[in-house]
């Protein structure tokens, strides 16, 4: 795509980068097939290439962004499905981030929307505040009709039950000999929504010879504010984490930064870019280089399944977009779940977003609900005993629509290696599925090994 930036505009390295990205889009259109908002609407401006055109026009112009352009950019999930399918490998992730920063700086949203965004950006990254807000929100449900309409979907989104467990900075010693020392990104909203995810992660890692630290002054990864266009806040959060983890790395050493919320993982792995034009550039790149999704890390060190009998359950594994498109981590979670004896099923149309997408389901509730129900239909069609995912956002979103219990992948792995039953499975009828044939089918497939009913081999 040809662009028309002025020399003055191109002196800004951020615009220079955006111009380079824009230049790589050649409008093949592969992205349209896998973009959720385009598939739902068939509106070109709701597709990645349509948005790329709008971004070009917006960044080239000296005028404030048009409201219609902002609406089309706001409705992008940043699921990055388009990047997986793009033949020209357009770096859409950084382009849409840049566009969101531009909108945030140059566009004045209506007061109610501004207030809502500010509220979310302030509350969600602060676990104790978010915890209090959830309690308040539950009370507020009874007064829904008195609240502004923009706030009502938020109340509907509050889970019935949460298991908050906010971790203080500390060290968790390895069981037996320590093989490696890792930092856990304790996260922000996840600690409030489901503290068992971190607890299971820590049990699992320490059981497998890792010393786990929750580093002082590390907090929210910055992802939530990044995707709301609040660049400075995102960079501040990232910088705090980089400094904190680098202190550990220089001190007692740090082999990896473990992330168990894939939305956060995508951002941490991109710290080198987010802080690339700051004094922390080198350190940010170093931290990004040792950031691992927990399943990636576990696949590297190997799991020891526990001996006690457990039912062989059918686990339908949901790929969070940040996991499959953002980080391209698709095999480790499946391999680990299979290695500890679960039957693993894929979700049809797995490339499609569930509608969670950070704060998307709070800001765009109608589209999020359509996508959530669509995903839930596909999940339910696989008749799972339990659904696994590696991102708290997806778990929270899909629990509203999916019939089967849902657990984080690490909760199942923890259970299978000697930990407690995941809370989501408490009271559930657990069916024992038949064991597979000794030799698995081709590595390319992802379902149970085929039987001889269909053909003879």
């Amino acid at each position: 795509m040809q662009t028309d930036f002025t020399a003055e505009q191109l002196r800004d390295p951020a615009i220079r980068e955006a111009a380079d990205i824009l230049g790589t889009c050649v409008h093949y259109g592969f992205c349209t097939n896998t973009c959720p908002t385009y598939v739902l609407s068939r509106d070109e401006n709701e597709s990645p290439r349509g948005r790329i055109d709008l971004i070009r026009e917006m960044l080239e112009s000296e005028a404030p962004p048009k409201a219609q352009t902002v609406a089309h950019l706001d409705s992008c999930l940043s699921c990055l499905s388009c990047m997986t399918t793009c033949a020209a490998k357009v770096d859409y992730a950084h382009l849409i981030d840049r566009a969101r920063f531009h909108v945030e700086r140059r566009h004045r949203r209506p007061p109610a929307e501004r207030a809502l965004r500010a509220l979310l950006a302030f509350v969600l990254p602060r676990p104790r505040l978010f915890h209090a807000a959830l309690a308040l929100g539950r009370l507020g449900r009874h007064l829904q009709r008195l609240l502004p309409s923009r706030l009502r979907p938020l109340l509907a989104m509050i889970p019935e039950r949460t298991r908050a467990q906010i971790l203080a900075p500390q060290v968790f010693k390895a069981e037996g000999e320590s093989r490696t020392r890792v930092a856990l990104l304790a996260g922000c909203a996840q600690q409030v929504l489901d503290g068992n995810i971190n607890a299971a992660t820590i049990r699992l890692l320490t059981r497998h010879g890792c010393e786990v630290i929750v580093a002082a002054e590390a907090g929210c990864c910055g992802s939530l504010t990044l995707h709301m266009g609040r660049e400075d806040e995102a960079m501040a959060a990232a910088a705090a984490n980089v400094r904190s983890w680098m202190r550990e790395r220089r001190g007692e050493g740090l082999d990896a930064v473990i992330v168990n919320a894939s939305g956060c993982g995508t951002t941490v792995k991109d710290y080198g870019h987010l802080l690339g034009r700051t004094e922390l550039a080198g350190e940010a790149k170093e931290i990004a280089g040792i950031a691992r999704d927990v399943t990636e890390f576990l696949a590297g060190i190997g799991l020891r399944p526990a001996a006690p009998e457990r039912p062989r359950l059918r686990v339908t594994y949901h790929d969070a977009c940040s996991m499959q498109h953002g980080q391209c981590v698709t095999r480790p979670p499946r391999d680990l779940l299979r290695a500890v004896g679960f039957e693993v099923m894929d979700v049809p149309e797995k490339h499609f977003c569930c509608g969670s997408a950070g704060t998307y389901n709070l800001l765009q509730p109608a589209t999020a609900e359509t996508l959530g129900r669509r995903k839930a239909g596909h999940i339910d069609s696989t008749a799972p005993d339990v659904v696994a995912a590696g991102n708290i956002g997806c778990l929270t979103q899909l629990r509203r629509y999916v019939g089967a219990p849902m657990a984080h992948t690490v909760e199942l792995l923890d259970w299978a290696t000697g930990g407690p039953l995941p809370p989501a499975l408490a009271g559930a009828a657990l069916t024992n599925r038949p064991a597979p044939e000794p030799e698995e089918a081709t590595a390319a497939t992802s379902a149970p090994a085929p039987n001889d009913d269909a053909g003879f081999w």
């Binding site: 040809q2 230049g23 790589t24 050649v26 409008h27 093949y28 259109g29 592969f30 097939n33 896998t34 068939r42 509106d43 070109e44 401006n45 290439r49 349509g50 997986t84 399918t85 033949a87 020209a88 490998k89 099923m345 894929d346 049809p348 149309e349 797995k350 490339h351 069609s381 696989t382 044939e437 030799e439 089918a441 081709t442 590595a443 390319a444 497939t445 992802s446 379902a447 149970p448 090994a449 085929p450 039987n451 009913d453 269909a454 053909g455 003879f456 081999w457």
Partner: protein
Amino acid sequence: MAEAFFNEVATAIGAEWINRSEETLRRYGENTMPGGDRRPLGVVYPGSTAEVQAIVKAANRHGVALYPVSTGNNIGLGSRSAVHAGQVVLDLGRRMNRVLEIDETLAFAVVEPGVSYQAMYDELVRRGDKFMVDVTSGPPQGGMLGNALDKGAGYGPYFDHFGFSCGMEVVLGNGEVLRTGDGALAGSELPNWHVSKYSFGPILDGLFAQSNFGIVTRMGIWLLPRPPAVRSFHFTYPDDDDLGEIVDVCRALKLSNFVPTLLRVANDIYLCGSEHPSPDYSPSNRAPISDAARRALREKDGLGAWTVSGAFYGPSMAALDPQIERVRAAFGKSGKATYISHEEALGFHALQVAINACSGVPGVGELGLLKWRPGGGNLWFLPGTPMVGSIANECQRMARSIYAEHGMDYMIMNVCSARFARGLHVITFDRENPDENTRANACYEALARAYAERGIFVGRAPLDYHALHMGQAMPAFRDSCTAIKAALDPAGVIAPGRYGIG
């Protein structure tokens, strides 16, 4: 005229299923060919055969030309762009995307035009992964029905996608609905419709492959039981002229069907190009890759001038050991081939594409070819050769020199069956550069002429060249097509000009 058409369609199917927005018209006109974009008059999304029928009847009444697409992923052959500006795109993929039936006893599926390879794969996996759909190595969101009708092919035993389709429902250009094969029997209970290809009367199915006589709205597609084990093998050869030896070895393996898959014989640039852009190319050097850079690419990836890939199916990986030994012996005779095992290939992007293709797993791995050069220009030239090594070598020398004359990079995969190999020649170019655009067009036309002079026709073609290729056919062939068009689509409302007909 057009307004009256759209009003009638709105009444028949609902105004919300008509799209005439500026952005939509612009984007649906886009393609990757040198001839430029072609803006349609509108886009219509029917939801059923009855709605397609209503739209075709309205087109007849108002003299509007329709251009049906299934999923519109025929990138390099036309995308969703109509033959001429001003046609109305009938986008069947948006709403007619249902898997109508999967028969797990007789191993067939019945699909609407919008069912993609990925959707079928997902559905089969959901049902326990007992069956395998034969996939292309193109976009996973490509439509199965559209690919079969355009004579597309895959790589497994059911590679011939039109050949392994059975039984269609078609809305003819005159607005009538036709069922082919056993489906032609009057009535609604038709147990043989999608299992018997040879029913009473003429085989009309072939009329709708690469034609514009009707709009196929339903098709039966046969499925292969999924083998418990797929074990691939790969051999790489050092020199360009090794193609002859490879083709002769492949012929013997395929004539007896010792190897159940087709054999993918890809050149260095085809394989390396799916991972890397051209290392030599830049806006100031719009020349083909140099020999030195080509050698460096090969060394980097550990590949030679040609690499052969195929696979065996069996009850287990171990059970396939004897076949692997025998195929190694066949390719090993001359001492030129280097063997790459299945396990080694699994970690190798370009060869993983072949494994996926032979395993019925759709993937995006090969789409990287399209960024060998920037600028979004892409054409596929698709002739073939008989499976005779000397002829294959003659053809590659001829094509290689034509590419070079036009400053293009010779990028090809020969997909070898028993008697014929289709040559997937890729031309990637910067469509935004007028000179390169002109050279790409000239390159295609020169290839088309040279192959025709050698007595070789194309199997498929980019939309820009349909008229050219139809012009290469004997008059009786052209006249027959025209006569059939007049009989089935007398007002010429379905894709006039597509495949050079009407």
